[in-house]
């Protein structure tokens, strides 16, 4: 599944997502786009963190928020909320 989401007043997020249709477990995810994240490696780390997690809106947003705080990540043009929105657009329900 793929989604393209233009963050209001922000950058573009492109999500490439594979998940198990019955369990809603994320099998693989790529968070791509023209945004900025510091340090850059944090996006790959976040993708790893999200792998194996359930495709659940509030759960995902909470996890991304915690990840940002724990790892001292700075986003420009995206946010935990907008990444979550972009991911949920890949879900077909």
């Amino acid at each position: 599944m793929k989604s393209i989401y233009k963050v209001p007043d922000g950058k573009l997020i492109k999500i490439f997502l594979d998940y198990d249709q019955s369990t809603k477990i994320i099998e693989s995810i790529t968070i791509a786009g023209d945004f900025f994240a510091y340090p850059e490696e944090s996006i790959q780390q976040l993708e790893k963190v999200l792998q194996g997690k359930k495709l659940d809106e509030s759960l995902l947003e909470q996890m991304i928020k915690e990840f940002v705080v724990t790892n001292n990540v700075e986003f420009i043009g995206i946010s935990p909320r907008s990444i979550t929105d972009a991911i949920m657009r890949c879900s077909n329900d």
Binding site: I4, I31, A32, D34, F36, E40, E74, I76, G77
Partner: protein
């Protein structure tokens, strides 16, 4: 006494060489081996650079690139895809704790873009900063910029369009929706400009880089002294070119 920073003029190089040199300067400066550095360069052949987080084949038509002899490279900085042809590209490397640079990333974008704007103002165009990373002339984009911070060092690079061929750009870049491609091209033509378009005359690389040099000197109250890459930087750049920016693993990593 005015602080002296290094000025590099490295000419027009391949995409992989250009990105390798920027990274080499970052590494050398982070170790305190070279002064803060402003570099001006161009691209030969023309090239597309994509942002660190972009998916290559999603953004770039690789077949079209091959046909038109345009190279492509993934940057270490975030941001969007850029078609580099008729432009002056700069890079600026400085320690994060230098008194002239803000710890705050957004603030530092603004300060460095101000140096570019001060340089462009010398041509008599009216520039405006469009946060986070664009510079406008007459409400149209003339410059895009991207920053990374690694090893407590800031690297910001960006482009100043001297001329632009939007149709060629869209032969090389992919758009999310082919159906609205025509409309998108028309919009971009309205929203992007260049020095030649604004002032109806040709600009040489040196005209532009000389003005930008003065822009940096005024903004940071320093003087830029012509220099060359150190032997260590050259070695680093050769290595980065081979192992990173010239490699399929790096460019196709996502």
């Amino acid at each position: 006494m005015t602080e002296e920073w290094r000025l590099l003029q490295t000419g027009h190089l391949s995409a992989a060489e250009n990105m390798a040199i920027d990274r080499a300067i970052l590494v050398a400066h982070s170790k305190g081996k070279v002064p803060p550095t402003v570099r001006f360069y161009g691209w030969n052949p023309a090239a597309i650079s994509i942002g660190y987080f972009q998916q290559l084949t999603e953004e770039v038509d690789l077949t079209a690139c091959e046909k038109e002899h345009v190279e492509y490279v993934r940057r270490i900085t975030g941001g969007g895809a850029v078609f580099h042809e008729d432009e002056v590209t700069y890079s600026f490397v400085i320690k994060e704790n230098h008194p002239h640079i803000s710890k705050n990333i957004l603030e530092s974008y603004k300060t460095i873009c101000q140096a570019i704007m001060n340089g462009l103002d010398r041509f008599g165009v009216k520039t405006a900063y469009a946060p986070i990373n664009d510079i406008l002339v007459n409400n149209k984009k003339i410059s895009g910029n991207a920053q990374t911070r690694k090893q407590k060092t800031v690297l910001q690079h960006g482009t100043i369009l001297t001329d632009v061929d939007v149709d060629k750009m869209f032969r090389l870049l992919k758009v999310p929706n082919e159906k609205i491609k025509g409309k998108l091209i028309a919009t971009v033509k309205e929203r992007v400009t260049s020095l030649t378009h604004e002032l109806q005359k040709d600009f040489s690389f040196d005209d532009v880089s000389n003005s930008l040099k003065t822009g940096f000197e005024e903004t940071f109250d320093i003087s830029l002294v012509h220099g060359t890459l150190s032997a260590e930087e050259q070695k680093l750049a050769e290595s980065f070119e081979k192992t990173t920016f010239g490699s399929k693993e790096w460019n196709h990593q996502r």
